[in-house]
């Protein structure tokens, strides 16, 4: 009953979206504003409708309607309520529905704004939004229906929405439960963050297309969507960081980023989106690179859809899986059509998007931004080839190949180094005109600081070339950024007579975009410290210990005490070891690495015991054990220096993005408010 209701609402939403697309196009073609207004209402209707369908699905999940196959596959009686709710995005059909729900929320929010100055954009923004909504709805309705039920037919059990002939419904008494790997706080909020990032990139794309269709070639579309882009970037970054944290806590291989295709699928739109965030500034300040910005936002949109396609179509496990499910070709077709249409529009407007200004020097901010874009695109090319090549190889030769971390690390390391260097230089170069002399005069102080830091690192005994280069770059970029803050704060304090703190506060508050940006740069620098630490200095060892035996790594001693094995009430078997950690003879504490085995899904899960400090992590995994625990257990121990700076940098980066994206007071609203207040004052007087 509820399932039928949910499905019916989804179909209705699909029809409403189709109507909205038609009404918007007809309205703008015939010049009838009422039709565009009707399309806008259709758009605004999608969110409440999808919410109803989503509500139905969540109700089924929470109340354990296991006759619905999606509910059966992701929940079970033993699961707590919050997990039953969040298992909404724990499986294919549900997560697509979740995607649609977020997308309709964002696109509806856009149509709620006041459109007086940008009325010509409205119909096309609606068209692009609704086309995307309708595509995903079609996927869910026709191929990945979350409301499908189990039926027993004479030939066997089937999953279908409509009752097959001669069948009876099946009502299982319990479900299979959520994949244990996904029962982690990081995994519960990681997909929503990624999806939020994905769907908010649809909005700048919609405005870009609207600008192309209407031929309004100024930078209005960029200014209107700047905050959306930042929000998208914020969520995507947050999603990536959380995903890394989840991998570190749950996957049990001592790292946070394994260049897995699924990770790269989310990383690619982040790369093009970051390039876009930088290059739009050139258009805003100097009227250059209008076409390139269009290319970047089209690319980002397509990569968002592509990322969803990669993770949702099963294509990564095998190209043949892709061919078997209808969802793959649908995605493929949709990306192709959107990409070609957008490019065709761009070519159509090519001459209108002529640059308004000139470049004056190779060292100006705008040309450095161009190099920044080149490096981001380079990393993107490496990622894209690495993800796509195994598919191409399997398709053409039948031979499966793996493109693993060594490939990506070798290919992207120089590009990342280049980016870090540009991050240090670019903030000090001026828009329009910069020479070696002006740049050198601005740079020498921070450069000197970085050389001093390099000396200190050398003194500390570091000899690896990669680490030295990395630490120098980190020091350089950090000192440039802090120097930028410092100069401006001092200048303001001198001019206004404010104390330094107030000067800093006012300066950052009045130019949040710049200082938010610098804060983000500092976040990246902190993350880079952690990445250098784990990439270059990580050590590991493995050994089988009897109770009382020890294993040594990086000055730490890990002593095996005991191991307990027991069944937990939520359907898992737990093997939990107790190890003592000491360093230089000093006892530091106990760690409890464990292995959980989920009976229902027959899946093991390795939870490390971690001792975490700002200096390093000692990360102990229980690999294996003998039936009689005193006989011994095998442990793998990782020493991960500086790894926590990755998370600290991540939080810092999010903070910086919030600073940059925090809404300004709308000048029009403010003006209206002031006028109103004055009028009120006059009346009361």
């Amino acid at each position: 009953m509820i399932a039928s209701f949910g499905f019916g609402v989804l179909v209705l939403t699909f029809l409403v979206s189709l109507y909205g697309i038609g009404a918007a196009v007809y309205g703008v073609r015939s010049g009838k504003a009422a039709w565009v207004e009707s399309a806008r209402h259709a758009q605004q209707l999608t969110f409440p409708l999808v919410s109803l369908a989503a509500g139905a699905l969540v109700y089924l999940l929470v109340t354990g309607h296991y006759e619905v196959s999606f509910v059966y596959s992701v929940t079970s009686n033993a699961m707590p309520l919050y997990l039953k709710i969040t298992s909404w995005w724990g499986g294919q059909a549900g997560s697509l529905t979740f995607w649609i729900w977020l997308l309709s929320a964002f696109t509806t929010a856009v149509t709620l704004r006041r459109w007086e100055r940008d009325r010509e954009f409205l119909p096309w923004v609606i068209v692009v939004s609704l086309v995307t909504v309708a595509f995903f709805l079609a996927l869910v309705i026709f191929f990945e229906n979350p409301f499908n039920r189990f039926w027993a037919t004479p030939t066997g059990e089937v999953e279908a929405f409509f009752q097959p002939a001669n069948s009876v419904p099946i009502f299982p008494s319990d479900g299979r439960g959520l994949n244990p790997l996904l029962r982690h706080p990081g995994m519960i909020i990681h997909p929503p963050m990624l999806y939020l990032g994905f769907v908010s990139f649809v909005i700048p794309f919609a405005f870009a297309i609207a600008a192309l269709v209407t031929g309004r070639t100024d930078d209005r579309w960029i200014r209107l969507t700047r905050r959306w882009t930042l929000v998208a970037w914020l969520f995507l970054s947050l999603g990536l960081v959380l995903g890394g944290r989840w991998a570190y806590d749950v996957l049990g291989w001592g790292g946070y980023w394994g260049w897995d295709p699924v990770e790269i699928a989310a990383f690619m739109p982040w790369l093009s989106g970051t390039a876009f965030l930088h290059s739009v500034m050139i258009q805003e300040k100097r009227g250059l690179f209008k076409r390139w910005n269009m290319v970047l936002i089209i690319l980002t949109y397509c990569l968002v859809i592509f990322g969803t396609f990669l993770t949702r179509s099963g294509v990564l496990s095998s190209v043949h899986a892709f061919a078997q499910s209808a969802i793959g070709p649908m995605f493929f077709g949709f990306i192709g059509v959107m990409f070609i249409l957008s490019l065709a529009l761009l070519l159509y407007r090519w001459t209108d998007l002529e640059a308004e200004g000139h470049m004056h020097s190779l060292l100006s901010r705008e040309s450095l931004f161009l190099f920044n874009n080149l490096l981001f695109m380079g990393i993107l090319v490496v990622c894209f080839s690495g993800v796509i090549f195994p598919l191409v190889s399997e398709l053409l030769t039948g031979q499966k190949v793996t493109v693993g971390p060594p490939f990506y690390e070798r290919a992207t390391a120089p590009l990342f180094v280049g980016l870090l260097f540009l991050m240090g230089v670019a903030p000090l170069s001026a828009w329009g005109h910069s020479t070696i002399r002006t740049l050198g005069r601005a740079l020498w102080k921070p450069a000197l600081v970085s050389v001093v830091v390099l000396g200190l690192v050398l003194l500390a005994g570091v000899r690896s070339f990669g680490a030295l280069l990395g630490f120098w770059l980190v020091a350089f970029t950090a000192s440039v950024t802090l120097y930028e803050y410092g100069r401006a704060v001092l200048a303001r304090a001198r001019r206004t007579g404010e104390n330094l703190w107030m000067a800093f506060w006012n300066l950052a508050g009045r130019n949040r975009r710049r200082y938010g940006g610098y804060t983000i740069h500092l976040g990246i620098v902190l993350m880079a410290i952690g990445i250098i630490g784990i990439e270059i200095f990580q050590q590991e060892t493995q050994g089988t210990l009897k109770a009382g035996d020890s294993i040594q790594l990086a000055g730490y001693t890990v002593t095996y005490r005991k191991l307990d094995e027991f069944d937990a009430p939520d359907g898992r078997n737990v093997a939990r070891a107790v190890v003592d950690v000491s360093r230089g003879g000093r006892y530091l504490g106990e760690l409890h690495p464990r292995r959980d085995y989920y009976y229902a899904s027959q899946q093991p899960m390795t939870i490390p015991g971690v001792r975490s400090t700002l200096e390093d992590d000692l990360y102990v995994l229980l690999v294996d054990w003998r039936p009689i625990s005193a006989e011994g257990a095998t442990f793998k121990v990782f020493h991960n220096p500086l790894v926590n700076w990755v998370w600290i940098g991540g939080i810092w980066l999010i903070f910086g993005t919030l600073v940059a994206a925090w809404p300004d007071r709308d000048p029009e609203v403010e003006q209206a408010r002031t006028v109103g207040r004055e009028r009120l004052a006059r009346q009361t007087a």
Binding site: V381, T397, T402, G404, T438, A442, N511
Partner: protein, 167 residues
């Protein structure tokens, strides 16, 4: 004669010592390979059945057996490369962390650098083409002011603009 016997005996003893030493050294080279040795090789290989899981971390029983196989091969004196080749022969190239450099696989080693180089050439050409002499009005402020002053001016300007739009 006794000299000859002495020489012979000492020669024999030297040979014996050498052989003995060698034998000892051979034994020293081949203790049971440690977990770390096994992991060193396993890390460079991928689980033949799971998707994108390196062999050293894969928890399945099959992978445990493969790791024992690596241990066996190591104790038989195989080199890392030989073991990797053996696995690739048995289970296909997908167990290698990178596609071997032959045939179609060259694409992935050649295309990205070519694309990046092409991009770099394009960027430099665009910069060249767009680089026109600055008009005096545009160039003047940057030339007249020292970077410090120019920077302050930039800050002031932006503050002014922000204040104007903020009110």
């Amino acid at each position: 004669m006794s000299k000859k016997v002495f020489l012979l005996v000492s020669l024999l003893m030297m040979v014996a010592a050498l052989v003995g030493g060698l034998a000892q050294r051979v034994q020293a080279q081949q203790p049971t390979p440690s977990d770390n040795d096994v992991n060193r090789v396993a890390r460079q290989l991928y689980c033949p059945v799971c998707e994108n899981v390196p062999l050293d971390v894969c928890p399945t029983t099959a992978c445990q057996e493969w790791r024992e196989l690596i241990r066996l091969k190591l104790s038989e004196g195989w080199s890392d490369e030989q073991i990797k080749e053996y696995f690739a022969m048995q289970y296909g190239d997908r167990v290698l962390a990178e596609p071997p450099q032959r045939g179609l696989n060259w694409l992935i080693y050649v295309l990205p650098p070519v694309a990046i180089l092409a991009g770099a050439v394009l960027v430099i050409r665009i910069l060249r083409r767009m680089q026109a002499k600055p008009t005096p009005a545009e160039a003047a402020p940057a030339v007249l002011l020292s970077p410090e002053d120019e920077y302050l001016k930039r800050v002031e300007e932006e503050l002014k603009r922000a204040e104007k739009s903020g009110r």
